[in-house]
Structure formats: structure tokens, C-alpha cells
Amino acid sequence: MGNDTSYTDQKFEQVGRRVKRPDGVDKVTGRAKYGADAYAPGQLVGLILRSPHAHARIKKIDTSKAEKLAGVKAVVTYDDLPDLTGGNRGMMDILENCMARGRALYDGHAVAAVAAVDKTIAKRALKLIKVTYEKLPHVTDVDEAMEADAPVVQDFVFTSGVEPKPTKPSNVSGISQFGHGDVDAGFAEADVIVEKSYKTEQTHQGYIEPHACLANMSSDGSGELWVTTQGHFVFRNVCSTLLGIDIAKLKVTASEIGGGFGGKTHVWMEPVALVLSRKANRPVKLVMTRDEVFKASGPTCSTSIDVKIGAKKDGTITAASANLRYQNGAFPANWGMIGAMTAYACYDLKNVKTVGYDVLVNRPKVAAYRAPSAPMAAFGVESTMDLMAGKLGMDPVEFRIKNAAKEGTRASYGPVYGPIGIGPTLEAVKKHPHMRAKLKKNQGRGMACGFWFNFGGQTCTDLNIGVDGTVSLTVGTIDVGGSRASLSLIAAEELGIDYEQVKASVADTASLGHNDMTEGSRGTFSSGMATIFAARNAVEVMKGRAAKMWDIPVEDVVWENGGAKATGKAHSNLPPLTLKEIAAKSPQTGGPIAGHNETVADNAGVSFASHICDVEVDPETGSTRVIRYTVVQDAGKAIHPDYVEGQFQGGAAQGIGWALNEEYIYGKDGTLQNPGFLDYRIPVCSDLPFIDTEILEIPNPNHPYGVRGVGETSIVPPLAAIGNAVSNAVGVRLNHIPMSPPRILKALDEQAGG
């Protein structure tokens, strides 16, 4: 520690270049190895048997026939996953989600698993496992789950955050309140009050690569795990805890990751693969099918939200409140709390109050999905903001500018903001030519804002300089969207060498200290910070080596333009030593040259975006097409602009899918009706226009280069931006996401009829 993370304005040589990514060739040739691309000698095929019921007591699991089938090497149930959590309920939830313990809590909940010599035998073995279920009442809707007579999903859950402490278990696991001021007084002061309720359906991250791993436990208690993950160190720690393995004895290697978006921050079946391998004493490959991914990994919440905003005639918001009910699946979590924190983060409010309700239902355990919880809250708030602007007769952008948060504003979630980008993104929207483009019949334009916290976290980075002067940069954060390129640019910048001389790679858990997940938009932010300090560390070493080579005091050496320079008149005859020259002599001057840094890279710098969207609605079918889209977002500093734009575009596309077509559809029996890409409709190439981007750079004061996380915020505004555009196109305000054609047509009919 002790590294100065303060922002300093500087000219960049490498940072900001649109260089080729180091993993590019591997990925365009099919050589890159993802989760399912590893093979081990003697490997078995693992398969998981899953509950067909939304909620059921498991009375009996008879595995005897499956065990007897030739070619079957292991069959496991929860008996093989004893509780080693020591009373840690959060860990127990993870374990129970990996394998049901007496009760199946959702359609797709794992109840048993097999490992066999091939797929055909493994499939046959699954069919031979006989599970006796007793069906229990279920609930999948968030509002229904809160009703007094709703089936109780988990009997150990008592509502927290209420006084007096409840005596009966409830599906509401927590109630969290945020805000400041006096909203009642604020509403009393208002000239206009707008209130509206909203619903959003459950969506999935929809990464194209299913969960996959290759587990290899040895009889000596050590093991290896190859896995697609957003955080292999965290996976190692979780699996070690759940299975009683020493952390040092479980080596986890992260494969290339085929998309995560938060969904690969949790273990879902990796502990099961390890247990199968331990029992079979052979390597086991476990790969989810697509329907397993939908049913048994972690989608995001469905929600039900009430929003109330009051304003003066001049457009000043006097009070704002929201009740946000978030469904977390079958295990407690605090996604509703986060929704309550983010809801009004864009605005400077005197009186604000939000209450988040976290609710259990018989659906899969919810995981993070890109700026988790924020898009739904923003849908409610930003839709209501447009309604209010309409009532006040104000331009929606001007209305937002008038109320936008700025440096010194107390955020609705508590602290006071430093320099932030909401105002500048709104000003950029106002100036953008998109706002003045002509619209045709049945077309409409909408805009909306979004916020996300961004995180840092534990990070550890190594930088080794080879005798030829090239640099291997070893990081522990998973590269989801091109961070190896960005981090190489940063190392090159610090060392004063060309990007091409740096090669970044992701280390396994045995080769580097702990790194937190790549989540919260932290990959480039935090590993970037550690890379800067590791490089500066290496520079100090090289200055020492140069001093030795010159035989002068190290105090007389400075680092400039990728090399050491001797300062002072006494040394004016010494020509500078390049990094390459110093590296070449390293065996004689003290051995290998390395830089190292470990840090908790907190302070990732909050991020804001404003989006503009044009849609065309077919009033006879309710079909909506996005015809133009613009993202304006603050990146702090764009290290590799291509991949910053890529994050903006990808988030917007996911938001567009969420807004229009994506949803988990549950039947009356509580089973998922659409666990596949055919009926879970993510946007296809022909659904979208080019997505224009404008990168703003308002430096994060707590990063040497001013970097803010950029990965998540772009998914926050689209839901409301599209809702506002639809409203402006055909005059109906949709309060239920997705705005699918039947919902839009129904709204149009109701408008015509009433």
C-alpha cells in the first residue's frame, strides 16, 4: 500500500490507442480454450438430474439401479455433500442450491448427479435414478409471494429490518430503506405529483457459453478445476470451503470465458463436479445444456415497483419516493436493497425515500446481471420522470438537467458525490444531432438516464521483464471483454515501451495472490491500478540496475521515455539505458526484474449514462423496432476506446432485448416454459441498428489515469428510454417490461376504447 492513486493529468503515448487484442488470433481461429474445451485422460461425462417440480419434498432418492449400470463410476446426492459450512447460512445456501437437501425449491433444482464413461451411459443412468417427490404449493410471482397466505419458500427466513422482530417466517427476507429529508413535506410542497406502478419480468444474462468445468480430484486430497468463471480465486475459496479442501490444494484455472455479465460470479455445479471426481477418482467434465443454464443458473430479478414524484411548476422536484419489490429466487439476497439505492442516484433531491423489499419465490437463485437491480428501478423512475416532464410541459432533457445530481449533491443512497458525469451526459444528449433528426409516422424518440456504483476490490498483479526486454503481465482478474489489451496498454504506458512488447495473461490460482471477481466493472479499473504500481515497482528495480551498470548512486537515475537516464552534470556523458539494455544485463546485475503489486482497489468512481432511442411501432401488431440508438456515457478515461464502445453497445443491446422481448415465462405449475434461445428471445443481428456511442471522460479523482468502470451502466437506461420512445411514438405508456407486441397492442386498444 501507500501507492498514490490520485488522478494526475498527463499526456498518454499508449493509453487510448485502438490496438489489436492479444487473444485475438486465438479467438478467430478457434484455438482459444473455453470451459468445455478441456480434455483430460480418462475423463468421465457428468450429468445432473433436476427437479421437474417448482416446489416439492424429496421423499426418497433411489440410485441403486444407476450405480449398477456398467460404465457408471459415481452417483452423488446431497449425502455426498455434507454440511461443512460451520453455520454460515450464505455458504449453506450455495451448497443447497448446488444440490437439493430434502426439498426441491424450483423447477431445475439439482437432486442427483452421475459420472459415467460416456454421454449415452450417463443419460441412461440419470433415467435409472428414481426420485419420489411430494409436490408442495409454490409461488413464482413477487407480489403473490408477499401475500400473507403465500406458500413459505424457506422456513428459516424471518424479515430483517423491521421492529419488533417477526416471529413467523416470511418470503420477505429483508426491508431496506434509503433516502434523506422529509418526503411528506416535499410532496405537500409539490404543484404536481405523478404516481405510477411498474412491473418487470425476469431476464437472464444470456451468455452464449454455458457453464462448463473439468474437475480432477486426486486421492491425496488435492485437486484441479478448469472452469469458465468471472472469478477463479473466489470459486476456489467457495469450493474449498464447501468440500473441505485446503485452499492451497485446489488449483483453479480459468478458461477463456464465453460471456458472464454477472452470471458467472456464482458456483452452480462446480462443487458437484469436484465431488463426482472425488468419488469416481477420475476427471469429470460437467457442461450445462442451454435449458439447464436457463433453469438452474442465476438470472436477474423480476420486480414490482411503485414510483411517486412531486415537482414545482418550474420543474424542481420537491420529493421522490419508491417502493421496490425484487424477487431473489429461492434463497435470500439483497437485490431489492440495491434497487432502492440506485433508483434516484441520478438526481439532486431534497427529500427522497426508497424502500426495497427482498422476496423469496420458487425460482432459481438470482445472480448479478450487469449493474444488478439498477435497470428495473431506472425503468420506474425514468418513465415517471418523462410523465412528470409531460405534465409540467417541460422538455424531458431540460427537466432532468434541472434536477441532475452534481459534485456536492447528497446521493439518494447516502454519501455526497465527488465529480460526476450525469450533468455532462445530459448536456451531450441535448447537443447531439440525434435529438434533432426527423421522425416519421409511428416513430418516437425517448431518452433516459442510468447510474451504477462500480467497484474495485482485491487485486494482485505481477509484471516480469524478460532478458529481451519484453514484458509478461500476469493478472488475476478474468478478461471478459478485452481487458488484457487495456492492461497491456497501461503497462506499456508506465514503462515507456510499445504495446507490442507487453503480453498479458490471466494466472491460475496457484500462480498469483487472490483476486476478486471480475464484477462491478472492476477488471480494467482495479487490475489497471495494480498494473500501474507493479510497473512503477519494476521501474524502481530497473533504476537500481542502471545505477549498477553505470556505477553511480541510484538517486541520480530517473526513468524517462522507456529508459534510465543519469541526471546531474557528473553523469552528462552517460547515454541513456533503454529498458531492453537493462533487461539484457539483468542476469549480471541481480537477476530477474519483476514488479509486483497487491492492493484493494477501492473507489472505482460512480458512473452515469444517458441514452437516446428512436423506435417505430406498428400500431396494428404492436411490433416495435429500434431504428436509431445513441449511448452517451462517462468512462473517466477510455484506455482502449474500441472496447469501451463495445461495453456501451453490448449493454444497450441487452437492455433493448430486456425492454422488448426477453422474459422468463412460468406456467401455472411453476415450471419454466421457455428455457431456450428460441423462446427466450435475445436480440438477433437484424433486430438492431448500429449503436452510436459518445465517450465522455470526466476523470475519476481516485485513479492515476482517471479511469472509471465502464462495463455495466449501459444496461441501465434502455428499458425506460424505449418505454419513453414508445410513448412518444404511439401515445401509450407501457408499465410492464418486456413491452412485447401483445402488451403494446392491448395498451393501444385500451387507449382507443377509453
Partner: protein, 285 residues
């Protein structure tokens, strides 16, 4: 499971007849392999018909057209003569799935999968297409609307295979069209669809066949809708009547793809739009 790839249709029918377990015909496989993957089907025998010459041919001449059961959507779309005579049928078939699926999917496979939402079927029925059915002992010709009896059900006997689809002779003042509604622009199953085929005489609709998809257990012909436009120049009044007749004929379900209300309403909208296209293609003003 066994895999067989016979060289004649008769041979294929004989394989089917002899099989005691579950036997399936494999043409493009775009439905069968999905069902196998999802565990809905576990065939004991799969009979690949793509090695049968008669199944791979397209014959198109003045007396009519014949399209082999193994002809893929892509091959159909590349046939200029067919695309000119029956643009509605060809477009409907070409709407099934992606380019990847088009390389494999066939009209007959689409028909025999017996989904109420099959894209090519309403267009074929509107066109008056017939299926040439070959059994282990006899051949017969059946109107396409008689093939599917319900979701996943056909009138074919266990040993029968459809060898080809025939389309009637095409006159000059004739046009067909097919439209479907899907939430995305591609890759979806029809929520509701309409096929229209009509002929004109002196600018007036002389004959018409209108068929709807995804609004009943099978694709349905709607004679009342045809009646609404026969004898008209497809004026707004006729179109409104057509739409009303179509909506009235619907007997849909609520499911993950759409609501009853929605399907009933949009069936009329699509039929209207398809009729306008068919009318224009027939040379109507």
C-alpha cells in the same frame, strides 16, 4: 438407435414398416434433432431420405411443379421459376429459421412436424398443394390440408412417407403471399400467420384461398375470408370483411408466444396485408 439411408422411397417405407420401435424420417433434421437433444424423442430408427434421388428433385413446368421432400429451403429459394410462380410458398419456406436452418429445413419436414405454427403450411394450403404419399405397398396423393390432424399428429400411416409436394399449374393473373408475425425480425416461431392465394379476372378477384397458421390446432382454410374478397377489387370494405372473417375463424390458445386476443386480432391484420401483396403480384391495381 439405428441410422439408415435408403436409395428409394419404397425402401424407406419398408424400413418404417419393419421397425417395431420408434421410427423417424430424417430430412433436414431441424425438428427431429432438436427433439432428440431435448429428450422429447428417442428414436430406435432414423431413416435419412436425402440419398433418395426423387426426394431431391424440383420439377417445374407449364403443367405444375413438384418439389422433393428432401429439398431444402435454400434450394427452393434458389429456384427462379418456382420463386416466380409461387413467391408466397417460397417465401414462407424461406422464413423458417436462419440461413443455417435454411440449408437443411424442408417443406415436407415442416409439414410432418405438424406444428400449428409451421410457416410453409398455410402457404402450401392456400396454394392448393398436394402431397405424394408413398407406403410400403401403395402410393396416394393427398391435399396438404388433410395431412395434419392436430398438434404433432398426421394422417400418415406408420409405413408412409411423403415423397414430394405438388403445386398446381399457374396461370397469368395469379399471385400468392404469406406473412407471419414474430416478435423479433428472425429466428422466431410464428405467433400468427396468413397465406393468401388468388387469381384475377379483369382486375377483380376470381378465386381465392386463405389459410391461417398458429390460430387453431392445425392450419385452417377460411372459406368465408375468401368469399369476402371474391368479386371485389380488394377495396377497403372487402379487406375489412376479410379481416373480420379471419378473426372469426380463429380458435387459438394462450401460450408463451402469444395471447388468444392477440392472435385473433393480428390474424385479420396479416391476412389483409398478405391479400394486398398477392393482389399486386397477380397484377391487380
Amino acid at each position: 438407435m439405428r441410422y439408415e439411408a435408403p436409395k428409394t422411397t419404397k425402401e424407406a417405407a419398408t424400413f418404417l414398416k419393419k421397425e417395431k420401435g420408434d421410427a423417424f424420417i430424417l430430412a433436414g433434421g431441424t425438428d427431429l434433432l432438436v427433439k432428440m437433444k431435448l429428450g422429447i424423442s428417442a428414436p430406435d430408427l432414423v431413416v435419412d431420405i436425402k440419398k433418395i434421388p426423387a426426394m431431391n428433385a424440383i420439377n417445374h413446368n407449364a403443367s405444375g411443379s413438384k418439389i422433393g421432400a428432401a429439398v431444402s429451403g435454400a434450394e427452393l429459394g434458389e429456384h427462379k421459376g418456382l420463386s416466380k410462380s409461387w413467391p408466397g410458398v417460397v417465401e414462407a419456406t424461406n422464413l423458417i429459421g436462419s440461413d443455417q436452418v435454411q440449408s437443411r429445413a424442408t417443406m415436407v419436414g415442416n409439414l410432418c412436424n405438424a406444428s400449428p405454427a409451421a410457416d410453409s403450411v398455410p402457404a402450401m394450403i392456400a396454394a392448393g398443394a398436394k402431397a405424394i404419399v408413398v407406403g410400403s405397398t401403395k402410393r396416394r396423393t393427398v391435399p396438404v390440408e388433410k395431412v395434419v390432424t392436430g398438434p404433432g399428429q398426421t394422417s400418415l400411416a406408420d409405413d408412409e412417407v411423403i415423397e414430394a409436394i405438388t403445386l398446381p399449374k399457374r396461370g397469368k393473373r395469379a399471385g400468392d403471399a404469406y406473412l407471419r408475425f414474430i416478435p423479433r425480425t428472425e429466428m422466431d416461431i410464428a405467433v400468427v400467420s396468413a397465406g393468401v392465394n388468388l387469381t384475377l379476372e379483369r382486375g377483380v378477384v376470381k378465386t381465392a384461398r386463405i389459410c391461417l397458421g398458429a390460430v387453431a390446432p392445425t392450419a385452417i382454410l377460411v372459406p368465408a375470408a375468401a368469399k369476402a374478397i371474391i368479386g371485389t377489387k380488394l377495396d377497403d370494405e372487402a379487406l375489412d370483411k376479410l379481416a373480420a372473417a379471419c378473426s372469426a375463424a380463429c380458435n387459438p390458445i394462450d401460450d408463451k408466444r402469444g395471447t388468444i386476443e392477440y392472435r385473433v386480432r393480428v390474424a385479420g391484420v396479416l391476412a389483409k396485408r398478405a391479400a394486398k401483396i398477392a393482389f399486386q403480384r397477380a397484377g391487380g391495381a
